[in-house]
Amino acid sequence: MAFLFYVSRVLEFIGGVTLLAWRVLKMIVRGRLDANLTIHQMVMLGVNSIPITMLVLGFGGAVFSYVMADEMYQRGAGSLIGGMLLLMLLREIIPLFGGTVLAGKIGATITSEIGTMKISEQIDALKALSTDPDWYLTAPRVLACVLMTPVVNVFAGYAGWYCGYYVAHQTTGMGYTSFTASVQMLVDWGDVVQCLIKSIVFGTAIVLTACYYGFRAQGGAAGVGRAVTSSVVINILLLYVLDLLLTITLRGIKIHI
């Protein structure tokens, strides 16, 4: 019985988010969004997320480089450190670690904001004022994240790269030229495209999931708390599932310029 209950919840979630995504997509394609609302969300969700994401990925790149550098040098593969770091950054660390940070930061923000509006009847007030809550709340956030998640990840990627180089330099003494020598051999533009696609998909999934749980909050402050918890946990889980699916699907994209 418990299994069936969870299966029904999963199906309800997939259906609900799909319908939400469809409604938002129609609004975006028809150009019906309010520019000011979208720009405001781009700043709140995108620009304001850059520092924390850079911090996390900076540490991520540093740790990866620290673990790799010594091992690879001992095995005579020290010259590949830079290329390997960039490859891992582009394929996994930037989209996944960055996505996890965003799931916690913006996912929680969105769910708590919309959840609080729900329990205080502000969503009903929007409807009473002939305003579609998805138009006012969901769509600007989705478009903002689609546009800004890659931007955030670019900054975060640079942080991971330079922190990784710094650690490799401190550990092995290698210079920047040596560090970057293997990049052209190991990395191509297909990896950049994969990173971009994953960033956009993850950003979209985070916002839609956060909005979904926000609109379903009930039961006062505790209910909002439960909604935020569900939003963050499901988002993180979803990111790893999507990462696996996208990695398999996008495997083999190679673009040499």
Binding site: A128, L129, S130
Partner: protein, 260 residues
């Protein structure tokens, strides 16, 4: 005019409204009264389309709104305004942004055109000085006035009030009650008021409907409620009379103790 014809509503197998029928005449203030949990607020939410009826028919200005979808409701709601029990102001927006929400976001008017209309309306409601404040900085009565202004700015034909004086002191209750009557007359709107504040209802309502245990009894005027022979109405009117007597007695006691 708002008309309910044999409306049934249930929440999770609990019957909330059981064949409610009443009419709120055009241009008048109709009060929905009754004990807590009797379904009054549900009736209001049906008029706004926040809840769907299981059976029956609801018409607003002659239009059947019983089975509309959300897009159709958005058009109907342009004729209506609602003042929520909690005011439901947008707490991240200032008073002027709250009041100007409809013309700016729905009618897409630029803010420089909206602001003068907003300030005029706030001045009319004695709230101009609070234009730049956030809802959290306002008292309950002030929040109700802002909520009313937010609805009035687009000149609805129908105004719905969900417990407009709940949580307010007697003075502020009187202010809000007077405002309801004043706006009703000035803007010639149809008002539907859900309230427990029976003395206020007595002052302003022209039409009273008692909802009890999911059923409705159309009483007529407030005075007719006090003198009705219907058993349910008599029981409710008895509570009202007791309230009035208690209030009159307290008033007399307090005036006795005031030194000359």
């Amino acid at each position: 005019m708002i008309a309910f014809e044999d409306v049934w509503v249930s929440y999770a197998e609990q019957q909330v409204l059981r064949g409610v029928s009443f009419t709120a005449p055009t241009g008048q203030i109709t009060a929905l009264v009754g004990p807590s949990g009797s379904g009054k607020s549900t009736a209001l939410r049906l008029v706004m389309g926040f809840v769907a009826a299981d059976r029956g028919r609801i018409t607003v200005d002659g239009e059947d709104v019983t089975r509309l979808d959300e897009r159709q409701w958005r058009d109907v709601r342009r004729k209506m305004g609602m003042v929520f029990q909690s005011s439901a102001l947008f707490d991240s927006m200032t008073v002027s942004q709250n009041v100007g929400f409809y013309p700016h976001y729905v009618e897409r008017e630029p803010w420089r055109k909206v602001l003068p209309q907003v300030m005029d309306l706030l001045a009319e409601l004695d709230m101009a000085e609070a234009a730049d404040k956030l809802p959290g900085e306002l008292s309950g009565g002030m929040q109700r006035r802002v909520a009313l202004a937010r609805s009035l700015i687009y000149r609805p034909k129908i105004l719905l009030y969900d417990e407009p004086t709940t949580g307010l002191d007697p003075h502020m209750s009187a202010v809000v009650t007077e405002l309801i009557a004043e706006m009703n007359e000035k803007y010639n709107v149809t008002s539907l008021v859900v309230s427990h504040d029976l003395p206020s209802i007595h002052d302003i309502a022209t039409h009273v409907v008692l909802i009890h245990d999911g059923l409705s009894v159309t009483v007529g005027t407030p005075d007719q409620l006090l003198h009705s022979t219907d058993e349910q109405v008599k029981k409710f009117a008895g509570i009202w009379r007791d309230q009035i007597r208690m209030y009159a007695s307290e008033l007399a006691d307090s005036s006795d103790s005031v030194p000359e």
